[in-house]
């Protein structure tokens, strides 16, 4: 299935062709993605929906370079990332992708500031440059006054904002969000989704988000449905 928003003249940022993924369970190989075709242009905000086991998180992990496909082509900004070695993929992730998880996955012993600085440890920045950059990211998500707080001193919504700041701090082109509001109440979820929408609209971040929540999906520009490892439906907002 080709995306209606893709253009024949401009290459999409994410280009997926006949993508398959199989897991070996014991002696059996179980294919969870069956030849996915999908284009995601730069600046898109796409919600991946579908029932449990439909393969949406697997597809998200492949786009984020966290796992390798079993077959097909996965080209991001013209780069076939499935051909990268483990180290190359790590460097690519550091430069290109920011991750936001359902359970925030912050380092519990580090302050919000230090959590946000983590991805910058992989750069050549000095300590003060890292600190300045992290402060800007925290300010962007509205948590400048919570920089010295540890995760257990923050609410769920605040922790997710810190996670968003950490994802943003290295200025990646793609944000990968796995159920980013799954652990939050409606009001807080709307605030987080509004923030993601702002990052997409104002800063041009390409966002790929897995969600079960139809209300969350409404914040995306388009929604792609998967079922049993196949794209079954697509709708634009």
């Amino acid at each position: 299935m080709r995306s209606p928003s893709s253009s024949d003249n401009v290459s999409p940022l994410v280009e997926i062709r006949a993508l398959t993924k199989a897991y070996v369970r014991g002696k059996q190989s179980v294919e969870v993605l069956h030849g996915i075709d999908l284009d995601i242009p730069e600046g898109d905000f796409i919600a991946l929906m579908g029932p449990s086991g439909s393969g949406k998180t697997t597809l998200l992990n492949l786009i984020g370079g966290l796992d390798s496909p079993s077959g097909g082509v996965l080209r991001i900004d013209g780069d076939r990332i499935e051909e990268h070695s483990s180290d190359e993929l790590a460097a690519w992730r550091a430069a290109t992708v920011g991750f936001i998880f359902q359970s925030y996955n912050l380092m519990p012993v580090l302050t919000a500031q230090k959590n946000v600085e983590l991805p910058l440890l992989l750069t050549d920045m000095t300590g003060s440059q890292r600190a300045r950059r992290a402060s800007v990211a925290l300010e962007l998500v509205g948590l400048a006054d919570r920089a010295s707080h540890k995760p257990n001193e923050l609410s769920g919504g605040q922790q997710q904002r810190v996670a968003i700041a950490r994802a943003l701090v290295s200025d990646p082109r793609i944000l990968i969000c796995d159920e980013p509001t799954g652990d939050l109440d409606r009001k807080t979820a709307d605030e987080i989704l509004g923030l993601l929408q702002r990052l997409n609209r104002e800063f041009g971040k390409t966002i790929v988000m897995v969600t079960h929540d139809p209300k969350a999906a409404e914040y995306a520009r388009r929604v792609v449905h998967l079922d049993k490892g196949t794209l079954v439906d697509e709708a634009a907002h």
Partner: protein, 396 residues
């Protein structure tokens, strides 16, 4: 080179907070592990300090001096008539004789070694001891004279002219008494710092000792001290001495003074082996304890380590972080233990017990830390390196 060093420093400065934060994740557990490491290295440091004294402590002894003892044991005396025969062996410069006295001054806790010697022969064979000329002469001419090392005299507040009563647990006088009174006629010191540190023994005039002891024991010497002109010939001369008394009633065993001292200590058993065995047991115990702690710490942090990989940390950098964590933990604990092992002995031991955590002991401990950190850090580090991000994040 400078640039590379600066680079390493900046990498350490960059990642150290991350390493420390991992250690501080469970403060109580880390504190207990650090205390265990500290106690283990305190023990290892002290044991190795003792071992160092035993195995290397006699190195100051002269290579031109040998001890001739009875072949069966140094506790078996030799007849004094052997002395001129030993002196006649080519290459022998001086010979003296020495008999362990085994006296107790006031209280058994005050024990210090005393030897009955011929004063002039002592001076000939031990030029390392120095004392004023008048006192040298007084020791030769005073039948019940004794000289004491400076450290010993200072410890007990003795001065020349004092009468020192010693209760010998070996030698009985002809009158049945074991109390021997000795007139202190001189106080000797070492000719250099090394010998000064050992000036805590006492020499007694053999003439008085031999005359006053029970008749059956007279005319016997414990060992002979043989000074040779050329240390390179020591081995050959020792063989000649022993050959001279071969198949006689008084077979001898001649060896360097250093070997004799070590042999003396080894009468108590192979102390070096025992100390190393205890150190090994302590090391093994701390290895298991710290290894379990590190493995547990990494198991608890699998999702966090997976997140680091998500952010772009390579498998090798995650391996390096866990190894750095293990090294930091072991170094901090060992450092605290070794500092204590260095500070405590001089505070609690008298100066004549030269048990010190020397540079050799620190070097040994540094090696032990590297082995420990690698052994306890490598298995969890490899586990962390092999974490598959998607499995870890999914809780598999």
């Amino acid at each position: 080179m400078r640039r590379r060093t600066d680079g390493r420093v900046s990498v350490i400065a960059k990642y150290l907070p991350l390493v420390l934060s991992a250690l501080l994740r469970k403060k109580t557990r880390t504190a207990f592990t650090l205390v265990s490491l500290m106690m283990a290295f305190l023990l290892i440091g002290l044991l190795q300090a003792v071992n160092s004294v035993i195995s290397g402590g006699a190195e100051f002894l002269g290579a031109n001096r040998m001890i001739t003892q009875a072949k069966t044991s140094f506790t078996q005396p030799l007849p004094m008539r052997l002395l001129p025969q030993i002196a006649a062996v080519p290459g022998v410069e001086f010979v003296s004789h020495s008999q362990f006295f085994g006296g107790v001054y006031q209280d058994a806790r005050n024990f210090f070694p005393q030897f009955a010697v011929n004063p002039q022969r002592l001076y000939d064979t031990y030029p390392e001891w120095v004392l004023p000329e008048a006192q040298r002469r007084a020791f030769i001419s005073t039948q019940d004279g004794a000289i004491a090392g400076k450290l010993l005299a200072e410890k007990h507040g003795w001065k020349v002219g004092d009468i020192i009563p010693l209760n010998s647990f070996i030698w009985t006088k002809t009158d049945g008494s074991r109390i021997w009174e000795w007139r202190l006629v001189g106080i000797f010191d070492g000719r250099d710092e090394e010998w000064s540190k050992r000036a805590s023994l006492m020499y007694l005039n053999y003439a008085q000792f031999d005359e006053a002891r029970v008749a059956g024991a007279r005319g016997l010497a414990g060992v002979f001290v043989v000074r040779v002109a050329d240390p390179m010939q020591s081995e050959k001369i020792a063989a000649q001495i022993d050959k001279r008394f071969e198949n006689s009633a008084d077979e001898t065993k001649t060896q360097s003074e250093q070997e004799f001292q070590l042999g003396f200590l080894k009468q108590l058993g192979n102390i070096g082996f025992i100390l190393n065995a205890i150190s090994g047991a302590v090391f093994f115990t701390i290895l298991i304890l710290t290894g379990y702690t590190m493995s547990q710490a990494v198991r608890e942090r699998v999702p966090e380590l997976a997140v680091l990989k998500c952010l772009g940390f390579t498998d090798r950098s995650v391996l390096g972080l866990v190894l750095a964590e293990s090294l930091t933990l072991c170094v901090l604990g060992a450092l605290a233990g070794m500092v204590m092992a260095t500070i405590i002995p001089p505070l609690v031991l008298p100066p004549e017990f030269p048990i010190r955590a020397t540079a050799d002991v620190w070097l040994f401990s540094a090696g032990a830390v590297v082995v420990l950190a690698t052994a306890v850090g490598l298995p969890p580090a490899v586990h962390a390196m092999r974490i598959r991000i998607v499995d870890a994040l999914a809780g598999r």
